[in-house]
Each structure stands twice: as C-alpha cells, then as structure tokens.
Symmetry: C2
Subunit: 212 residues, 2 copies
Amino acid sequence: MKVLVIGANGQVGTHLIKSLAERGHEPVGMIRNTDQVKAIEDAGGKTVLGDLEKDFSQALYGCEAVIFAAGSGPHTGADKTIMIDQEGAIKAIDEAKQQGIKRFVMLSTVGSDDPEKGPDNMKPYLYAKKRADEHLKATNLNYTILRPGSLSNDPGTGQIRAAESLEDKSGQIPREDVAAVLTEILENENTYHRTFEILNGDLSISDALGQL
Amino acid sequence: MKVLVIGANGQVGTHLIKSLAERGHEPVGMIRNTDQVKAIEDAGGKTVLGDLEKDFSQALYGCEAVIFAAGSGPHTGADKTIMIDQEGAIKAIDEAKQQGIKRFVMLSTVGSDDPEKGPDNMKPYLYAKKRADEHLKATNLNYTILRPGSLSNDPGTGQIRAAESLEDKSGQIPREDVAAVLTEILENENTYHRTFEILNGDLSISDALGQL
C-alpha cells in the first residue's frame, strides 16, 4: 500500500517508515527540505516535499492511505500548535477527502478526549488534538485515531495494552512500539472508525488489537 | 431580554452593555473579578462572575441570549488564542445548547472565513475564530455571526455597510458601532443563521441589516 507519512522526520515517523517498509508497504515521507531525504531513504521510504503550513495537496497524489504523525513539538509556541497539530491535521483530512483517499490514521494522544482534565500547560495542545480528531470523526473516511500515553525512546517490546479508555493510564510506551501499532492497524478493518488508547502491556500487538 | 455578555470588560463589551441597557434589555456582564463590577454597573448592566478558562456554566443560568464578545487580545500568547478565542467560545456555545438558550450572537472577524489568505502572524487567531464559528454553525441555535473589519476607537457614526462578503474590505469601523450592530441584531430574526461582515458605510444600521 502506498501510504503518505506526514511527520516522517519526527521521532515516531522514522520508526514508522522503517516498519511500513519492512511490512511490504510503500511509505512516502513528507518532508520540508531535502536534508531529510537520506534518513527516510535509509529507513526504506521514498520522499515528497510538503509543508503543513502551506498547500501540500500534491504530496497526497496517488496515495492509498495517510498517516498523520506530525507534531509541532514542545519547543515551539502555541501558534504552531494551532498551525501544525490542529490546522495541519485538518488540512490533511480535508485533502484526503478531496482526493478520495479513504484510509486515514491519526496519531493522537491520551488526554485529548477530555482536555479540561489535563495540566494547564498541556491544555492548548490537548484541545488542538481534540479538534483535529473531531474533524476526522465527522468525515466518512475509514479513520483510526490512536492515542498513546507517555512516549519513551526505549527499544520497542512488541507488547502493549489497548482499550477505548485505559483504566490505568500510567506507564509509558516506546515510540518504536507506537510505530509498530500504526503499521499493524493500517490494513486492519477492525480498527476502522475507532479511537483507542495504547500503553506498554503484556499482549502482542495483534492480540491487543483483536480484543478491541 | 436578559442577555449574557461574555467579554463585557473588553473594548466592544463596555459599549455593548450600555447599548443593550439603553435599548431596554437586561445585560449581564460576565467578569473575572469584582474590580470590574463598577464599570459594568455604570454602563447599566448587572454582573456575574465567570472565567472562560474554567467552568462558567452558572453564568448562563436564566439568560435568554448570549453574546460572545471576548477576545484574548494581541498581548497574550497563542495558548490564550486557543483557550479563549476558540475553546472559550466553544464552551459557551455548548453550554447555551445544554441550557436551552436558543439565541447566540458571535462577534467574529473579517478574515476568519479564509485564514490562509490572512497575514502569517494573524493565521492562528483567524483559524481559532473560524473553528469557533464553525462549531456554532453546526448547532441548531439561532445564531448570528458578525464579522467586522478593522476596529477603531473613533466615536460611533451609526452608519455602516454590511454583506455576507464585502467586496471592499478596506476602511474601519468604530467599536461603538459594532456594539450598536450587536444590539440591533439581537432580536432581528432576519439575521438568524446568518454570517456577515460590516464596516463603516453610508446606511443606517437598520437599513444595512434590512438589505442582507
């Protein structure tokens, strides 16, 4: 499957390109400048230029699915939270609709279902993610919204827990496992029109997804 | 009509309380601290305590209409753009729905129909306003969305131009005139489910609204 990865240069994105390629997909990483080409190609992907703050419609041409794994990150201001996390995502969703690309996977976060319960300094980010998720849910795309808890850079374990709302949201999950889950759900129709949370656990990814 | 004014302490809000009171309405200004009571009472309004970043549902009790005229202003960061201009508005809309308050007037801005065309430094604000407006349009409330162009502190003239999309968006409009328009449209059913722009012009407010 030819799949556009938005945020390919991010911390999850790099694992994701590799994981998709290993699974036999054809990942295309959307990048903002050519310095990033080598890392994506080394991971087994192709690249296309596109900037979330501009018109990136051409990046979606010919793709069968879109995975939105971009984030403005903690080192930019809330203006980028609006422009990237919220509006970049909404533009990608609208563009997928426009181009008839039915499969859309959103990397969201635990807490975006109820931003008011989050810490004050996280609320703007959680609201931005919530609005993007809501925009996606209101489409007729075959969407999946994945909400991992706290991310770590530990090596992946392949072991997770998953639920619409995890009772215990403590713990972490390696970014490598998040990438593996994104890859696993791409063609898993059981996850269409679903929103769920993941964290480290003791089930294989396919077992955890099967129990949803 | 008992009407809650959110943003009563703002630059449009103070004119609005006065204008509503003069028209025989019963304006209630939502304020964050008791220092603001005197200004509202001097303008002819009552007050209720409420903070857009917290639960302010009690501020709406018993009101027949809500006018959202709050703005985080140019001196705060984009985190407040999300929390006040976007999410504060969305909370007010949801709360009006919840409490069965059918009439909702939103003070929006020229440019929020197409933020991409705005200057880069205004885009986050314009997107936040757009999302709030869209949220309102998706309800079954009797809404009106008013989008003035560039605001001035000149004295009101009572003369405006109005259209769904003004061909010529140059010029300004005094905040006092914006307040007069908000008051005029409150009970004007011709403006229900409508979104329109206003600027200085040469028609009386009622004539301009009648031509919509």
